[in-house]
């Protein structure tokens, strides 16, 4: 249990500051990219990719997911799976539209 030790926390604080800097930088990047007027698909891909990196940083460091316990991961894995099922929903609907058009 060195997660609670003084040295560990002090080291962590430095990490938090670096993560903050990265997040701020990525925010600026994503706004800048949006002014480039990329093609739609590329724009979506880049924006979501950056958001994914930012989100991962927050989850990994601020929410301590990097050092989290197995049980938390299990719950999140299940959630991620069901979240993927949720995304079937727009997929189905566009398939419906397709089937009508064809």
């Amino acid at each position: 249990m060195d997660h609670g030790s003084k040295e560990h926390i002090e080291r962590q604080v430095k990490v938090y500051i670096s993560v903050f800097a990265a997040l701020a930088f990525l925010t600026v990047v994503t706004v800048a990219v949006s002014y480039l007027k990329l093609p739609f698909a590329a724009g979506v891909a880049v924006a979501l990719f950056i958001a994914l990196i930012k989100g991962s940083l927050v989850a990994a460091f601020f929410m301590h997911l990097l050092t989290e316990k197995q049980i938390i991961f299990s719950i999140l894995a299940v959630t991620a799976l069901f979240f993927a099922f949720l995304l079937l929903l727009p997929a189905i609907t566009s398939a419906e539209v397709m089937s009508y058009v064809s």
Partner: protein, 199 residues
Amino acid sequence: MSTAVIRYIDKPHPVTGVTNAKLGTWCFLASEVMLFGALFSAYVLLRTGVSEWPHGSQFLNVPLATLNTLILITSSVTMVMSWASLMLKQFGKYRLYLAITILLALAFLVVKGFEYGHKFEHHHFPSTNTFYAIYFTLTGLHGLHVIGGVVVNAYFLFFGKRMWETHPEQFAGRIECAGLYWHFVDLVWIFLFPVLYLL
């Protein structure tokens, strides 16, 4: 009545390695993922269902939203610093960081309020079109989550001292959980910002 003690309130469970509160918070966040996931999915469905969809930046104020993103990211850092201060047994610093977190959250809400006000002035309401409908619903729901975070954090700011003195470990655990929630609110915004404003 020694049997009446609920275990693992302050100490982690030897097998799972987490406290009750932490596991509970993560479960709650899992359900929040599904809530925002469903709304996100609804957004994709509605957007792909029509041929024309406005580009967010045409209607929305990107600089203000960028500012808000930075505010929220900063508040996330101060939140985690506040927890770290508790772990270092620096209660004063904890209070300072937590207060800053709350102020930043309020600043976020004020900026959001300006954005909303501006929209209303130009007669842009949720009923105007599907784009505004989804914009107001998603940001509104996120705003409610911010308000919820402010209430929780304010409670710990003003009423936390006694518990810190009697049950320091349990209290640090609670701040960690409040932090988890707050970071989640930040995380949601990190996705909302590009999706609504930049695409």
